[in-house]
């Protein structure tokens, strides 16, 4: 009798939690318009394969993704590595899948970039310069550089650098250095490589000063409360789309080889970097000021 009741409850919950439409958030990894344009085909493919309507909503900042996730009642998001870790810790997000880059890696790392004409070769040369971060809630765009700077004896950014600000997106940070608005840019390699693909000359104008450890690339994480079937469907669609000609085409346009399964364990490096940066994920204030 109890078992029957339990089964009924599970079924009810499953049915209650079974969504036909999922609202997925997108972090401003790059230009928000390009970001939306990039993810739209993927969402259409998933909808076609699973029958679950996918609605993307772009978030203006990495920083308010946690708040926005709850405010906008999102069902999931394509998290960055740091925001993903935050979401796992603070939002009880279940990682589902992450993409494999064209080079076969499913991670990314951060770069600290300077203009080739800037004469900056090391941290010492960076003193009194302007730094363009991305967001405090990004690994490559803040956490890693802080960790790097800290390792190189820079504990107070305000005093060491002339100025620093948050561009909001990795491509904005890179463009800030290219346009002379900042001396140092902190961005992820995937965005850097994306920009280089669009404009090969760009690579000639930038110099990579530092490289962070690899962290999981931006992957899909869903609310754990979502129906098991939904999560399984999404997971299956993402993990098998490289076997489908249409899926392959979408992946190509998306700029990746395939999606692979992602678990909490995959965010371990993020936790390490955060720790080395002296950041506690549980109570980290990630709002930019």
């Amino acid at each position: 009798m109890k078992q029957i009741a339990a089964l009924l409850i599970v079924l009810v919950i499953s049915s209650v939690s079974h969504a036909t439409e999922l609202k997925i958030g997108l972090i401003p990894e790059q230009n928000v318009f390009k970001q939306m344009a990039r993810y739209k085909p993927l969402g259409q493919y998933i909808e076609q394969k699973t029958g679950i309507a996918i609605t993307f909503t772009i978030l203006s900042r990495y920083g308010n993704i946690i708040n926005s996730f709850s405010e906008k009642k999102l069902d999931g998001a394509f998290w960055g590595s740091f925001t993903g870790a935050l979401a796992v810790k603070q939002l009880n997000i279940e990682p589902i899948a992450r993409p494999v880059n064209l080079d076969g890696t499913s991670t990314y790392h951060g770069y600290i970039l300077v203009h080739k004409n800037s004469k900056i070769k090391n941290v010492s040369d960076m003193k009194g310069k302007t730094v363009a971060f991305v967001e405090k809630a990004t690994t490559a765009g803040y956490i890693f550089p802080v960790s790097y700077f800290k390792k190189h004896g820079i504990s107070k950014l305000d005093t060491y650098f002339k100025d620093y600000y948050f561009t909001g997106s990795h491509d904005a940070a890179i463009h800030a250095v290219l346009h002379g608005e900042a001396d140092i840019a902190c961005a992820k390699n995937t965005i850097f490589e994306m920009l280089v693909r669009d404009n090969p000359k760009l690579k000639d104008n930038l110099v990579i000063i530092a490289r962070s450890p690899d962290v999981p690339s931006n992957g899909l994480g869903l609310r754990k409360e979502l129906a098991y079937g939904v999560k399984a469907e999404l997971k299956r669609a993402l993990l098998t789309m490289h076997k489908d000609p249409e899926g392959k085409r979408v992946l190509e346009k998306f700029g990746v080889l395939q999606f692979i399964e992602t678990t909490e364990n995959d965010y371990a490096p993020v936790f390490d970097i955060a720790a080395s940066a002296g950041i506690s994920l549980e109570n980290y204030i990630y709002l930019n000021k």
Binding site: P28, V32, I58, Y165
Partner: protein, 772 residues
């Protein structure tokens, strides 16, 4: 007409096509303008949409991070539509200048997006974010200005193009209107002309066709021209006349056919009438193997044929020809039929006997003809049948008569000479009796001799009568006494009784008494001979008429004389032969008696019948035509000689006869001049006329051997003296001149042999008449 129509329509088509093509070309040239207009409209729409989108984004930009801020997704959507619109603008064909401007705009849009994104994603450093905001707004404003400028330019172009297009459209409308109007007018003209060209002949055709259908064949139309209608009219007229001719021919043929049918029907009716009413039997039957042995089931025969046989129609149908044919004639019939069927002959005729129902036989004359097949009908055989039984009887009787004639000719010759001899004997006996004392016994001897001569005379008369039946020398007498006298004479000396039943008012008859005597004598002698043991003969005479005993349709009166005996009767098989010459059942009989009797009665126009039953005697019935004319009393035979005076010319070639008659005449007081030749007689008579002593009378023998006979002599003498008193004499008392002496101018007749009494009486009468 076809050419006219084609040319007219072609001209119309050409004109219409020209106008239409011109309009189409104008429209085509205008189409690009219209397309441009449409494009411009579309572009204008795009640009308006672009401006609106930019304005929306600008608005969102200005209100971002304020309570009235739009949702980031809205901004993203508006920016995305911006991008799309910018792409659409470049998809149209523009002038290079415009294309460059559009490309600039597209570049500005990209920049706008970048600046927007920078601003939207930027955080902290308000100065920086404001700067980003200002830059984005500036770019947005540039976009708006650019879009509006492009819009104004497009509007101008649109107006120009629209006006130009409208002008072209107006031109096209004008061209179309003119084309339609002229085409209409031309069409009307062509239609009227064609209609007239078509309707007039057609109406005439319809009218003429109507007339023809109502029977006015030969109706023609007057329309003619060089077109097909003219040709049609010509052909129609020919057709109409042909139909008329044909109709008249058909009518004529129908009339002839009707006439023929009537004639045929009439002929058929006539044939049927003839067939059924024909007294000749006709039977038609199909050709088949052994047709004579096939029943008449498939045959057609008329009433006359059917009536011959006595069968019912159903019975006759079940008979075959062979069954109704006498066996004796069947073989010959079969041979003829086989030859007919084999094609050896087309027909045959034969006499054959048929067997009636009941076994009676009749003779038929048949003509069998092969009817050859016609009109698909199989060949048939037609037989006509005529009943010739009566003819056969007649032929049989004719044969009898011919037999009689042949015998008669012989007998006649003998009788003539014998009569002459008898005449001499009789006359000499008469002379001897005159010269002898009546009490002398010699007179009795002479009387017996005379009687014997008379009997001899009777016999010769019988022979002469038999020879040709003997033309009777008839006189009207009452036969009552003769019956009685002749009967008693014939029965004298016999043991037979005779009873008479003679009507007192018996009609007179015109007969040759001597011949009738013979008849009675012959019948009575036979009756006596039939009753050798004696018996009674019943003789009756009464008046009667033809219906009772002949098949004559008109009533004729007869005197019926019946002689009935009580003898053994005549066997049935002999009845039909008893009147045949030489037929006799009596041993030693001549077989001439009844033949002579039959001949005499027939010559008198009468009839003789016999009825007999075996063992019950025989009844002979004689029918003599009665006479109701002036009764001339028969001259009783007087046994006396009458003397007289006068000059008599005697023409006789037999010396003994001539001398005897001359002596007799002289003895009774006449002057006689004897001559042997008619020519001499004529000369003598003629010479005597010139004298004072002409001849008072002439007695001439009819037959003068080697010289002119009595007939010719009489002709000559009548020419000399029309009132000549002449007596004809002959041993051939069957000669027609003897029977009808008055027709030849004679006033008396003396059949030889005659005696002095007869001569004296006749001559006395003649002289008396002369002297009157």
């Amino acid at each position: 007409m076809k050419k006219r129509i084609i040319i007219s329509l072609f001209a119309l088509f050409i004109f219409l096509s020209a106008g239409t093509i011109t309009a189409i070309l104008y429209m085509a040239s205008n189409a690009s303008g219209l397309k441009n207009i449409i494009k411009l409209h579309e572009v204008e729409q795009l640009r308006r949409s672009l401006v609106i989108s930019i304005q929306n984004v600008q608005s969102s930009l200005y209100t971002y991070n304020t309570p009235s801020a739009s949702d980031l997704d809205f901004i993203v959507r508006e920016a995305a539509s911006l991008d799309k619109i910018a792409q659409k603008c470049s998809s149209c064909h523009h002038s290079p200048q415009l294309t460059e401007r559009i490309e600039n705009m597209q570049s500005l849009v990209i920049d706008y997006e970048d600046y927007l994104s920078y601003y939207l994603t930027a955080s902290a450093n308000p100065e920086r974010t404001n700067k980003l905001k200002t830059e984005a707004a500036h770019v947005g404003q540039q976009l708006i200005v650019m879009a509006e400028a492009m819009s104004h330019s497009a509007t101008r172009s649109l107006t120009e193009l629209s006006e130009d297009a409208m002008a072209r459209v107006n031109n096209v409308m004008t061209i179309l209107l003119i084309t339609v109007a002229i085409t209409f007018i031309l069409g009307v003209i062509v239609a009227i002309h064609l209609a007239k060209s078509v309707t007039r002949p057609i109406s005439e055709l319809v009218e003429a066709t109507g007339k023809i259908s109502s029977g006015e064949f030969g109706s023609t139309i007057s329309f003619h021209d060089q077109t097909e209608f003219g040709e049609l009219a010509e052909h129609f007229n020919k057709m109409s006349l042909t139909i008329k001719d044909g109709y008249e021919k058909i009518q004529q043929e129908v009339a002839e056919k009707i006439q023929t049918e009537h004639a045929l029907r009439e002929s058929e009716d006539k044939f049927r009438t003839f067939f059924e009413m024909s007294p000749v039997g006709i039977v038609i039957y199909p050709i088949a193997l052994d047709p004579l042995n096939r029943t008449l089931t498939s045959s057609v025969y008329n009433t006359a044929f059917h009536n011959f046989f006595g069968y019912s129609r159903e019975e006759l149908r079940q008979m075959s020809v062979a069954e109704i044919t006498h066996p004796t004639d069947l073989r010959k019939n079969i041979v003829f039929m086989e030859e007919l069927l084999a094609g050896k002959r087309d027909s045959y005729t034969m006499e054959k006997r048929y067997i009636k129902k009941g076994g009676d036989i009749f003779w038929g004359l048949i003509n069998v003809t092969l009817l050859k097949s016609s009109y698909g009908k199989p060949p048939q055989v037609m037989t006509t049948l005529v009943d010739i039984t009566e003819r056969k009887l007649i032929e049989s009787e004719q044969l009898k008569i011919e037999k009689l004639e042949s015998v008669g000719i012989l007998a006649g010759g003998i009788a003539h000479d014998f009569n002459n001899i008898l005449t001499t004997i009789v006359n000499n006996i008469s002379l001897a009796k005159l010269s002898t004392n009546p009490d002398n016994n010699t007179v009795e001897i002479l009387s017996n001799m005379d009687e014997a001569c008379r009997r001899a005379k009777d016999l010769t008369n019988q022979l002469l009568t038999f020879s040709k039946g003997g033309t009777p020398v008839k006189k009207i007498i009452s036969i009552k006494e003769q019956i009685r006298d002749s009967s008693l004479f014939a029965l004298r000396g016999s043991n037979i009784n005779c009873k008479f039943f003679i009507a007192h008012d018996l009609w007179p008859v015109e007969i040759d008494a001597g011949q009738i005597d013979q008849v009675l004598y012959n019948l009575l002698i036979n009756a006596v001979q039939a009753m050798p043991g004696g018996g009674t003969i019943f003789i009756s005479a009464k008046n009667t008429w033809s219906e009772t005993h002949t098949n004559e349709k008109t009533q004729k009166d007869y005197v019926k004389i019946t002689i009935e005996d009580q003898g053994a009767g005549i066997p049935e098989g002999n009845l039909k032969n008893i009147f045949d010459p030489y037929f006799t059942t009596k041993q030693g009989g001549s077989g001439l008696g009844l033949a002579c009797t039959y001949s005499i009665i027939k010559n008198h126009g009468g009839n003789i019948a016999v009825y007999s039953e075996d063992g019950k005697g025989a009844v002979f019935s004689i029918y003599l035509p009665a006479v109701h004319d002036q009764f001339i009393a028969s001259e009783q035979r007087e046994a006396r000689i009458v003397g007289g005076s006068g000059k008599v010319l005697l023409l006789e070639d037999e010396d003994s006869v001539g001398e005897t008659i001359s002596r007799m005449l002289t003895q009774i007081g006449y002057d006689v001049v004897l001559t042997k030749d008619g020519s001499d007689a004529v000369t003598l008579y003629k010479e005597a006329l010139t004298t004072s002593e002409p001849f008072d009378s002439v007695i001439m023998d009819l037959t003068i051997r080697g010289g002119m006979g009595g007939k010719d002599t009489m002709q000559h003498l009548r020419n000399i003296d029309p009132h000549i008193a002449a007596i004809v004499s002959s041993g051939y008392f069957n000669d027609p001149i003897m029977a009808n002496y008055q027709d030849y101018g004679f006033i008396g007749v003396l059949p030889k042999p005659y005696d002095i009494e007869e001569l004296s009486l006749l001559l006395n009468r003649v002289m008396s008449q002369v002297r009157k």
